[in-house]
Amino acid sequence: MKFDDQKIRNIGISAHIDSGKTTLSERILFYTKRIHAIHDVKGKDGVGATMDSMDLEKERGITIASAATYCEWKGHEINIIDTPGHVDFTIEVERSLRVLDGAILVLCSVGGVQSQSITVDQQMKRYKVPCIAFINKCDRSGANPFRVIEQLRTKLGHNAVAMQIPVGLETELEGVVDLVAMKAVYFDGESGEEVRVEDIPPHLRAEAAAKREALVDAASLFSDELTEAILEEKEISPELLYTALRRGTLKRELTPVYMGSAYKNKAIQPLLDGVTYLLPAPSEVENVALDMNHHEEPVVLTGDPEKPIIALAFKLEDGQYGQLTYIRVYEGTIEKGSTIVNVRNGKKVKVGRVVRMHADQMEDVDSLRAGYIGALFGIECSSGDTFVSPGINMTMTSMYVPKPVISLAIVPKDNKAQMAMSKALNRFSKEDPTFKTHVDPETNETIIEGMGELHLDIYVERMKREYNAEVTTGNPRVAYRETITQRADFNYTHKKQTGGSGQFGRIAGYIEPISDAEFVFENKIFGGAIPTQYIPACEKGFRQSMAKGPKLEFPITGVKVVIDDGASHAVDSSDMAFQAAARGAFRDAYLRAKPVVHEPIMKVVVESPTEFQGSVMGLLNQRRGMIIGSQDEGVMCVIESQVPLGEMFGFSTILRSATQGKAQFTMEFALYRQVPQSIAEKIALEAAKNKKTAA
């Protein structure tokens, strides 16, 4: 293993669904000689793309779990995380971005900046990941890379600048003109592996000169030397230009744009050059850990391999030989046989096998130094855990994990399936923090929760395939919530005398709605009306009440409880009595506080040919959707709307049949909104029915 931090690149490939990320990864692996043959994403040749290692991924042609791999290009080691495109799997994208230093934003030369590109871009912004863009599918009819560059500027606000111009477009795509070297580059051989560099064709010279001027102009903002060279009309060397471009890219103030066609094997090698020239080495990125000994004070990590270990487990996989933990080392060096501590639970673990991953194959190594991504065997942990050297108490910044919005009851077919199912659920919930599972105490059913219909579908499918767990699923259930809309006072006395010492507690105060927290408890009691030792019991009682609304039994949010009076009894008062009093007080006040039901509203973005715009809007409208707007993009249009999740089940089938399969949509959680009265009544009826069935 070589050790030169400047020659490591940890990159991700992020994009909208079907932009060709996995195809691009496949080509990168081929050109860097990690694989020796190219396979189709949809698995027509029966092999499937290398990065889509799960059977299901090969079958559906989408990447579900991101696989990590590494390859070498011109003396640089590149770690690549292939990230999923569907928004239901966004947690994977977020986790990948957390550990990466740079990214390639893949865009379709026909579709341009699509809805998911915007989501992915926001995530990159959140984690300050510098990126370069690759406009793929330049061989497609309707390809227009410069329109996409314009969209990068207008829709995403990137200072996008072309590094190349295409030689030919659509079916005529032959290669690209490199605007730094001012040479035309062609890709010969069966799989485009032979790079041929020639002079720029005469008909492209003027365009190339103009675009180069724009490139140099954009780069000059980041380099005084370059500005000087321009003013003095000196020759601008590629090194000078790359240095300036790199500075801009690392600051996220410039997005260099490459173009080509992964499927047709055009212009992938220059993109790899771009990764090595323009994306940062691990030491060039500021990573911050939180010092647990000093009130989580942020500490900037140096990336020194000699310092104590700080590493983040960002992904788990159940492999042939047990749990495989993907890890990024931020500081220190993890060696085979060394001892590390899981900060979350303080458990010490001994490092067994250390490997570098290449999709589902692996390579044993002795150590992983700061800046590297690899995997460990036999480490029990959850995704997002931080590992450190003994004596260190730091944690990597916690990741943003959205709450599940949909749930599904699953029932195993037999006892064998029950065992397999619990094993699978245990694994999945460890791997994916947005996937949750619990047993409903009333119906005794196992409930799985996640971020969308497809998200849960995939897990049910994986249960069957990977764990042989045959399960039947119930109807998906929406995660409704209850909240109150006005203040209500309470004055409740809990009194019970059943022989021996009784129970007594009186609590008075009020509940009122709040918008920015789930639950707030405020104690305004002066003079000891309720003795101080019972106050925590009061809070506990109120908190318990929040778990289930008294009427519809959905979790309650957005309530502030203030207690300002009460009474106790020297003998009969106890924690238990005050907890019961609090529960009674809440029940009493809740119905007077005009409770309402809130439902999850999804942001649904449909991309459709314009001729179907009317029918798509009709479909959304029928689903209680509020159409925010429509964007005309020539032959295609983008319709943005907000639709209740409860109305979205089976939407993909309906959309396909209404648009001859030409429209696609993405969906992500937007907000919780109050359910209209008529629907609330339906929900109440259903809840009553469920309660009856459970009884």
Binding site: K155, M617, N621, G629, Q631, D632
Partner: protein
């Protein structure tokens, strides 16, 4: 009780108190930019009317029209905002920002509820400048109206290039306004290098000026942006000095 009626839509339940609603509504009505300019009607334009706001780039044409739109939405009148420059999200941001500025002194929970309700009365459409035509807009509109999804009372058309579009397009637009009994407001970008005529109208606008029923001009003088009616106001009306606050882009008198 006008406000309660305004909010008693079949499927929406709003929990604002009457007083809260009145306060917010009053505030927005006071902000209605053009009331003090001596126009006869509440919505300034009559059914089928065409109006325009003229100004140099960056002076506040969109901000002014978004406030007009908010005023209509407040009265439960559906507004279609057609933008030829900006993406849906950016147009939405204009509305959010201006509404939040107007209602900044009220409780955020109540404002959010109120805003959510107002959104039912707004629809944003964006076109590429080169792809825009009145028949295309009418086709899209027909899609919405036939399915009872949206029938606009007011249309805001932002980003049309008057010097390039010619008279034909505006004649079509006026016909469409009449056909569907809508009011259409346009933004007109005037050029700094082009001195206005005596009536305040730029030369490049004269060939279409007769098609408009109302013309309003924004002009920046020093740090202030003045709003002035050029056409359509009552003959003996007194034009109070109205300004756009350059910080918030809200109207102030």
């Amino acid at each position: 009780m006008v406000v309660s009626r305004a909010l008693r839509r079949e499927d929406n339940v709003i929990h604002l108190t009457y007083e809260d609603m009145m306060m917010i509504k009053k505030e927005i009505i006071e902000r209605n930019p053009l009331l003090n300019l001596g126009f006869e009607r509440e919505y300034i334009l009559a059914d089928g009317g065409l109006g325009a706001v003229l100004a140099h780039a960056g002076v506040g044409k969109t901000a002014l029209l978004v406030q007009t739109a908010l005023h209509a939405m407040m009265h439960e009148q559906p507004v279609l905002h057609v933008s030829l420059n900006d993406a849906v999200s950016k147009v939405d941001l204009w509305y959010r920002e201006l509404f939040n500025d107007m209602a900044s002194k009220y409780d955020s929970t109540e404002i959010t509820q109120y805003w959510e309700n107002m959104l039912n009365y707004r629809f944003i459409m964006t076109f590429r400048v080169e792809g825009f035509s009145v028949p295309k807009l009418e086709e899209r509109l027909a899609d919405l109206m036939q399915q009872n999804i949206f029938k606009p009372h007011t249309v805001i058309l932002d980003g049309l290039k008057f010097d390039e579009s010619g008279r034909g397009l505006l004649v079509e637009l006026k016909e469409m306004a009449g056909k569907y009994a809508m009011r259409i407001w346009c933004t007109v970008h005037t050029h700094r290098h082009e001195p206005p005529k005596e009536d305040g109208l730029p030369l490049s606008f004269l060939h279409v000026a007769d098609l408009f029923d109302v013309l309003v001009q924004l002009s920046s003088q020093g740090p202030e942006v003045y709003i002035k009616a050029l056409k359509g106001q009552l003959p003996d009306s007194r034009q109070d000095a109205l300004l756009l606050d350059p910080a918030t882009m809200l109207i102030k008198s």
